[in-house]
């Protein structure tokens, strides 16, 4: 109880509230600029959080992510340019409503649904991660090795593309994670005498390169006319720019159902916000009184994917905070921000020093409220900001990213690495390799290697593998649970393929 109060006090300090306010504003502004996705915006700003006090920097990062999720829906709706695949589901109904002059109403629906889904999953995170961490405290290196392997396997099997590409991407990430000094013997690995690589490849150049720079390179392939702005007209009637109380009440069941879908999806590593958004959209259409309105500007069609999408982001932190394992790119970014502030999430934090975790929880709840209030004020301004031309935006992003990558360690080598990773990310997207899996492989590689090697040393000192497993009941239970979950994941993969095949057939028929 003392730790909870201490955590709440930390997050309610003037500094933390300042961080939350700045984070939400920056997140919404950067997220709403066409071409900048939520992940890109946060990746660009991570280096700056290092220069703040941890209790300004961490709430700022969390708030920034929440703000950028809402912000990135603005160009998706007003310009039909979804920054993320998940936002594609919002475009289906959001853009027709905006085209009808009701862009203001569509954006308010997005804001309401985003904050609802976010707050719902945050509450689940607060309840779920503490309980899971209590179990995880009994984990040794062997349990961690199994858990990381399962996370990697489920990420591969639920990857939207082909599974062999997912395996290759993750293993390339593991290989990049091997660069530097060996964690046990201290032998230099794949550094080829370059002293800049002895500490390993920097996380920040990796994140900015793969998430922001490669995305800019990809978007620069668009024809010149697409690099120019596109405008949309707004109705001046107040009812077309507001969300009435009755409309909010009518949306509640959809929001609750979608938030639950998003939370469950987000708690499992690898499923991601795109799957959640489309499942929630289909579920909302299936249960709607007027399903024929979907695709023509239905408020339920906007609210469902947005609530699910945002609920995923909170629930994604459950495996991160309980086990220290990021389940998605959002969690990987937040892990990066926590690590540069000196906090390594995992069960030990809950036992030894839980106050920062409770501070994170209360900062997240506080950020939801600030996100809503700032969002209401920002919507009229956002309508103007979305008209920034990509021809001006992208060069500015590239220069800004260079400064951010340099600032972290004061090294031009990091800027060079960032552009090299941007190039690799661009090539990977051309060849349809998932870059997010590479990043997660890179982040998990040290945990996996250290755990696997420590396990082998432990096995050497016991009477063989079977005796080792028998002596660890938690490992036996974990193997059983993971076996069961693996079956579920494989079934999910098969049903996803069936859905895809059915959709293809329907598209061919039409």
């Amino acid at each position: 109880m003392e730790a909870i109060l201490e955590g709440i006090t930390l997050s309610l300090s003037v500094n933390a509230l300042f961080g939350i306010g700045i984070g939400v504003v920056l997140g919404q502004v950067l997220g709403s600029i066409p071409g900048l996705t939520a992940a890109m915006a946060v990746a660009l700003l991570i280096p700056f959080s290092f220069y703040f006090d941890p209790w300004v920097g961490i709430p700022m990062m969390l708030a920034m992510f929440k703000g950028s999720l809402f912000g990135s829906s603005i160009p998706a709706i007003l310009l039909r340019t979804p920054g993320t695949p998940a936002a594609a589901a919002t475009v289906i109904d959001g853009y027709p409503l905006a085209k009808a002059g009701k862009g203001g109403k569509a954006l308010r629906t997005v804001l309401y649904a985003s904050v609802f889904g976010d707050a719902f999953s945050d509450v689940c995170l607060i309840i779920g991660s503490g309980a899971l961490a209590a179990v995880a405290i009994r984990f040794g290196p062997s349990e961690y090795a199994i858990l990381v392997l399962f996370a990697l396997m489920s990420l591969v099997s639920l990857n939207r593309g082909t599974s062999w590409r997912g395996v290759v991407a993750i293993l390339v990430g593991v290989l990049i994670g091997c660069i530097g000094l060996d964690p046990i013997s201290g032998t230099a690995r794949l550094t080829f005498g370059n002293a800049e690589l002895f500490d390993g490849v920097g996380l920040i150049p990796m994140l900015i390169g793969f998430l922001a720079i490669s995305e800019v390179f990809t978007q620069l392939e668009q024809p010149p006319e697409q690099l120019r702005q596109r405008a949309i007209e707004f109705s001046k009637r107040p009812e077309d720019n507001q969300l009435s109380r009755q409309e909010k009440r009518e949306l509640l069941p959809t929001l609750l159902r979608s938030s639950m879908i998003g939370t469950v999806t987000g708690a499992l590593p690898g499923l991601g916000s795109t799957v959640a958004a489309f499942i929630a959209y289909n579920e909302a259409r299936r249960t709607a009184k007027n399903p024929e309105e979907f695709g023509k500007g239905s408020l339920h069609g906007i609210a469902a994917p947005e609530a699910a999408n945002n609920a995923v982001s909170g629930a994604n932190l459950i495996p991160l905070l309980a086990f220290g394992i990021p389940g998605d790119v959002a969690a990987a970014l937040i892990l990066g921000a926590l690590m540069i502030q000196g906090i390594t999430p995992g069960p030990l934090v809950f036992r030894d020093n839980p106050a920062p975790i409770y501070a994170i929880f209360s900062a997240m709840l506080m950020a939801n409220a600030v996100n809503y209030l700032v969002g209401i004020a920002y919507i009229p301004l956002a309508k103007k900001l979305v008209s920034v031309s990509k021809r001006l935006l992208f060069p500015a992003v590239l220069v800004f990213a260079s400064a951010g990558a340099y600032a972290m360690r004061g090294s031009l080598f990091d800027v060079q690495m960032m552009f090299v990773f941007g190039l690799i990310g661009w090539l990977m997207s051309k060849l349809r390799f998932p870059t997010v899996l590479l990043l997660i492989g890179f982040i998990l590689a040290p945990i996996l290697e250290r755990s696997a090697r420590q396990t082998l040393i432990l096995v050497d000192s016991s009477d063989g593998w079977i005796a080792f497993v028998q002596s660890r009941p938690v490992l036996m239970i974990l193997l059983g649970v993971l076996g069961f979950l693996s079956v579920l994941v494989i079934r999910q993969r098969i049903s996803m393929r069936r859905y895809a095949a059915r959709d293809d057939e329907a598209a061919d028929a039409s």
Partner: protein, 166 residues
């Protein structure tokens, strides 16, 4: 060339690169270290395991393309970018790498940044003087204020003309 042939060629090239990495770069770039004789694992174990995994995954992909006909495999090369301008992206990447490797060292971050932003803006088709020149200067002024004043971080100065203050 058919999509299938192109994909097989791409996988074959990646397999060749993996072989070079596994048989040449790992032995040269990773020492044996202690651990190879029983205490845990050799420092080479993880890179070798990852490389083996990549090779197996690529071979699986190759076999799928060679033997499985009519599969719903997604084409290896992204078709949605084929109508775009990959050459423009290549030029932009080259410009960025030039500035990261040479330009920022020679001209300093601020002058180099302005030159980089101006060249990229023009490459993307913008010709209006105000936007081509003034917008990059505004961006660099904003970066100067954030870094030098806000965080007290000194971005690289010109190596060619050290008398330039930024």
């Amino acid at each position: 060339m058919s999509v299938k042939s192109r994909e097989i060629i791409i996988i074959a090239v990646l397999l060749l690169a993996t072989a070079v990495f596994g048989f040449v770069l790992i032995p040269v770039g990773v020492g044996e270290g202690f651990g190879s004789s029983g205490a845990g694992l050799s420092p080479r174990f993880m890179p070798e395991l990852a490389t083996l995994g990549i090779a197996l995954a690529l071979m699986f992909g190759l076999l799928r393309h060679v033997f499985v006909t009519g599969s719903n495999e997604v084409p290896c090369v992204a078709s949605d970018h084929e109508g775009g301008h990959p050459l423009r992206a290549v030029i932009v990447i080259s410009i960025c790498l030039f500035f990261a490797l040479i330009g920022f060292n020679l001209a300093g971050f601020y002058l180099g940044g302005i030159a980089m932003a101006v060249s990229l803006t023009m490459l993307l088709g913008e010709r209006r003087f105000v936007k081509v020149v003034l917008f990059p200067i505004l961006v660099l002024v904003a970066i100067y204020l954030v870094f030098e004043f806000g965080f007290q971080i000194r971005l690289p100065k010109s190596g060619l003309i050290p008398s330039i203050p930024v």
